[in-house]
């Protein structure tokens, strides 16, 4: 199944793209697994995700924590802590 990944702010800048469609390999079950797998995809990803604890994640446009299962996610967004308001 294809999953759309969306990146914002410095996560987007460091990875070098605002979104992409990926086929997640078997064994990627949680958000934490996804972050680990993405880091293996190149220097930009490594730079963006080197401190995974600070990365905030939304699945289908709702905040989730890193233990969340990602099966069935259409859209997963990764971004820094928010600074609106």
């Amino acid at each position: 199944m294809t999953t759309r990944l969306i990146y914002f702010a410095w996560v987007r800048e460091r990875i070098g793209t605002s979104e992409e469609d990926v086929e997640l390999p078997a064994g990627i079950e949680t958000v934490a697994d996804l972050l680990r797998w993405l880091q293996s995809r190149g220097e930009g990803y490594q730079h963006a995700l080197q401190y995974p604890d600070v990365i905030r994640v939304a699945i289908n446009q709702e905040h989730v924590d890193h233990r969340e299962k990602i099966s069935g996610a259409r859209e997963i967004a990764l971004f820094p802590p928010m600074t609106g308001g």
Binding site: A58, Q61, H63, F79, P80, M82, G84, G85
Partner: protein, 160 residues
């Protein structure tokens, strides 16, 4: 029984008119005794900042602020609630965000507006990037621990 309030949430590039937004909540009714508005503006940081650029997550920004606003209407007896958040490039002195909370009495309106802003700061998907007057890249604004703490103080229901 009062009707269920549906908050107004708008994410927009253009400016807003505070007086018009208040009038939009109060016009034609006489049951509102208190309106609290909060406006957040762009500071120039002692002349160092030429603009803030606000990036947002279209779709989720509306959805998340809608969820926060709906929680506010459950926790306080509100008769009107409007939240507007701008995105794009914003110059010092210009508006960024507006919360208008209307209620029969002031305490609910004050608390709801305060809650909205604290939650919005830590949960609404917006990110500020600074543009400096000297032409240098100011970088992304860092989230403040004080904002996260401010949001945590609302964890306990107000009735307790």
């Amino acid at each position: 029984m009062s009707a269920v309030l549906v908050p107004t949430v708008r994410i927009q590039r253009q400016d807003f008119d505070v007086a018009a937004e208040i009038a939009g909540l109060t016009q034609g009714r006489a049951d509102i005794g208190a309106v609290v508005t909060f406006s957040g503006l762009c500071r120039d940081e002692q002349g160092a900042l030429s603009a803030l650029e606000l990036e947002h997550y279209p779709g989720m920004a509306e959805a998340e602020i809608g969820r926060i606003a709906a929680e506010a209407t459950e926790r306080w007896p509100l008769q009107g609630l409007t939240v507007i958040h701008r995105h794009g490039k914003i110059a010092p002195g210009d508006n960024i965000v507006l919360v208008v909370a209307a209620s029969a009495h002031r305490q609910a309106a004050f608390e709801a507006a305060d809650f909205l802003m604290d939650y919005l700061k830590s949960r609404a998907p917006f990110w500020k990037k600074e543009h400096r007057t000297d032409g240098s890249e100011g970088g992304w604004v860092e989230a403040k621990e004080t904002d996260a703490q401010a949001a945590r103080r609302w964890k306990r229901p107000p009735s307790e």
